[in-house]
Symmetry: C2
Subunit: 347 residues, 2 copies
DNA sequence: TGCAGCATCCAAAGCGCTTTGACATCGAGT
DNA sequence: ACTCGATGTCAAAGCGCTTTGGATGCTGCA
C-alpha cells in the first residue's frame, strides 16, 4: 500500500493525504481524521527511501565505531551506549546506522558516509588525544557530536563527556585522605583522551599534596581483567609496593582483586581499590553495597545525551557548539579502607 | 556533484554514465574508463537514497536487538557479534541499521521495519524457546537469519548456531571422566533457547552414565559475575556440595572463582570449573594457557557467518532454509582436575 | 450584488537515480 | 547495393514521496 493507492482509496489526491498525515494545516480536521483512520486500517507506512529522497533528510544517524587493528578489541561500553542512544532515536523516528571501521581507513569511511548522504549526522566514538577525525568532520560539514573530547583539538565542536579529570582527582584525594601514599594507576590506553585526562587528574591530586606519581606505579593498556591482574601482580612485588590501586574499569579492578587473593591479601584492608564504573548492565558493581568504591557515571545516559544533542542540533540547524560535562559520583564500597600502617603489615 | 552534473561535465547522458559506473556491458571500454576517471576526479558518489528508491533495494540489513524490560541488560556478546557482521556488510556495500526494542512491543517493531522498507533483511538476536518472532517474520515475508535457534518453532527458517547441546554434553562428560559426580550447572536464563539446549546437553551426559541432575545444583539467570558468585556460595554450603561447576559465561565463571577464593578453596584442585567462552575481545580467557577449561566458540565468527548467509539469501532470492551448526571446541585450562577423593578434602 | 479573503483541495514538478525502449552508426554478409 | 545484427548512446518513464503554485468554492462585508 503506497500513498497513491491510499489516496485513490480515499478519493483524495496524494497531496492531501500526505499533508493530512504530516500535520500540515491546509487540510480540514474531518479529512485528516478520515485519512488517519484509513492509514491505520490499511497499515500504511510511507516508504522510507522515497521520503528521504524527497525531503533530502536521511532520518538516520551514523555511528562510526573504530576497530583498532592492533588491539582487536571491541570497546565493551559500546553496547550500553548504543542502547541509550537507540532509545532516543526510536522516539524521534530516526534510524541508527552502524559502521565498524578498522582505524587504518577511517578517513575514507567518513568521507564516504558524507558523500553517500545516508545519515544526517554522526556520533564520534573513542576520541583520541589530538584526534584527526575532528578537523576532518569539521571540513566535511556533517553535523556531529563526540562522545568524549579530544585534548589538543580545536575546541569548536560539540561533545558529551564525563569529567574524567575531576573524577580521578577526587578518587585519588579520597585515597590520600585515607592515608595512602603509594597509589597505583592502572589506566586505559593513554592515547585515548579519556585515559589521558584520568592520568592528569591522578597526577594533579598527588601534586596538590606535594607528591608526585611514581612511574613504576602507572600502567596504561587495554582495560581487561588480565591487565589488572598482571599489573597488580608485578607492582605488589616491588620493594615498596602500592597500598592502593586506581583502575579504569570494572574488569581491571577484578583483575587486581584476583592478584590480591593470590597472595592472601584482603581487599579494603591490606590494599584498597577504587575503580571507574561505567554502570554497564552486565557488569554491575554489586547491588546493595558496591563491591568496589568507584567513580560512577552511566554510559547509557551518555548515549542518551549524545543522541539528544545531535538531533537537537540537526533539527535546529545550530552551529554554535554545545557541551555537556557529566560529573561522576564517588560511591564508597567495600574495597577501600585506611592505609595500613607499617606495623599492620606484619601482624 | 550528482549524476546529471557529472554526465554533462563529460558530455554524456546520465544513462551512459550510470551504466558505465555499474558495469553494464553496453558501454565501450573507452568511455567506461573516461567516466571512472571523472568520477574519481570529482569524488562522485551516487546518492544512496535515490539509488535505493530506484532499485527498490535498501542495501541495508536490520538488527533488532531485544532489550528485556525486566532485566535491563544489554547482551554483552552483542558488540562482538556486530563487529563480525559489520565486516561482511562493509565489504558488500551494505549498511547495518540497529533497532533497540523493548521486548514489550517487538511485534510492532518488526511490522514497522517491514512496511517502512528500509532494510532488505534482518538478523534475529536472542531467540527464545518457542519464539513468537519467527512465525511473525515468516508471515511478513522479510528475509531473515537467526543467530541461534528456537526449540519448538517450525524449523523452516535459516540460522547460524553453536551446537550448545553437544558442547555442554561434552563438557559434562569431561568432568564425569575426571571422576566428578556432583556437578553444578550455572546456566543462562532458560527461556532463552541457547540456555535450554545447554541444560539438555548437561542432563543427557549425566543420563548416559545413569546419573540424574540434582535440582539443587542447577540455577538459571542473568550471566553475571554476581550470579556465579551467589550460586556457588549457596551450593558450596550444601551438605553434599558440588565438586565441579559448569557455567554459561566467562563472567559467571569468574563469580564462581571468587566464591572459591572466599572459602580458601583452590580452583582446579578442590573444585573444577568449565565454562562456555564466547571469545569476546575484552574477556579473553587467558593467553598462553586458558584460565578456565572451556567450550569455546567465537561469537564474532558467528556474526560473520550470519551476515554472509543473509546476504547470500537476499541476492540469490533463495527460499529453502540454510543452516550452519558450529561446533565448539573444548579447550583445557587450569580450572579443572580430578575430583577430590573424600580423603583429599581433609589432608 | 460583487469581490476580497479564506479554507480545502489538487496537478504537476521535482528529489537523483535506474532501466526500458528506441535510435543512430557501422561493419559484415549476401 | 541492401539488409541485418552489433555496438554505443540517449530520451523518457518510472521509484514513492514532498512541495510549489494554482484552482475551487464558500463566507463575510461593503
Amino acid at each position: 500500500m503506497n500513498l497513491k493507492q491510499l489516496a485513490s482509496e480515499l478519493g483524495l489526491s496524494p497531496t492531501t493525504v500526505s499533508r493530512a498525515l504530516n500535520g500540515y494545516p491546509e487540510v480540514s480536521e474531518a479529512t485528516r481524521l478520515r485519512v488517519a483512520e484509513a492509514a491505520r486500517h490499511y497499515n500504511y507506512r510511507p516508504n522510507t527511501q522515497a521520503k528521504r529522497l524527497a525531503t533530502g533528510r536521511a532520518m538516520a544517524i551514523g555511528h562510526i565505531i573504530p576497530l583498532s587493528t592492533r588491539h582487536e578489541i571491541v570497546n565493551p561500553v559500546f553496547a550500553d551506549f548504543i542502547a541509550g542512544a537507540g532509545e532516543v532515536y526510536a522516539r524521534a523516528g530516526y534510524d541508527m546506522v552502524l559502521t565498524i571501521v578498522p582505524d587504518s581507513d577511517e578517513e575514507r569511511a567518513y568521507r564516504e558516509v558524507r558523500s553517500k548522504g545516508n545519515v544526517d549526522g554522526i556520533i564520534v566514538h573513542g576520541p583520541k588525544v589530538h584526534d584527526a577525525r575532528l578537523p576532518l568532520l569539521e571540513e566535511l560539514g556533517l553535523p556531529f557530536v563526540v562522545h568524549g573530547r579530544s585534548l589538543g583539538a580545536d575546541p569548536g565542536y560539540s561533545w558529551v563527556d564525563v569529567n574524567n579529570t575531576r573524577a580521578f582527582e577526587r578518587a585519588t584525594s579520597f585515597l590520600l585522605d585515607l592515608g595512602h601514599r603509594r597509589i597505583a594507576l592502572v589506566n586505559g590506553i593513554e592515547t585515548m583522551d579519556f585515559a589521558a585526562r584520568r592520568r592528569h587528574g591522578f597526577e594533579r591530586a598527588l601534586a596538590a599534596r606535594g607528591l608526585s606519581a611514581d612511574p613504576a606505579l602507572m600502567v596504561s593498556g587495554e582495560m581487561t581483567e588480565a591487565q589488572g591482574h598482571d599489573a597488580a601482580r608485578d607492582m605488589l612485588d616491588l620493594p615498596d609496593p602500592p597500598t592502593a590501586f586506581l583502575t579504569a574499569s570494572f574488569l581491571s579492578a577484578m583483575g587486581v582483586r584476583r592478584a590480591l587473593w593470590e597472595r592472601g591479601m584482603r581487599m579494603g584492608r591490606d590494599v584498597s581499590i577504587v575503580t571507574h564504573d561505567d554502570e554497564l548492565g552486565y557488569l554491575r558493581n554489586g547491588f546493595d553495597e558496591p563491591i568496589f568504591t568507584a567513580t560512577r557515571s552511566s554510559v547509557r545516559e551518555a548515549g542518551r545525551r549524545c543522541a539528544a544533542m545531535l538531533l537537537r542540533r540537526i533539527e535546529s540547524g545550530a552551529s554554535a557548539p554545545e557541551n555537556d560535562l557529566m560529573e561522576a559520583t564517588l560511591v564508597v564500597g567495600a574495597s577501600t579502607g585506611p592505609a595500613p600502617r607499617r606495623s599492620d603489615m606484619t601482624d
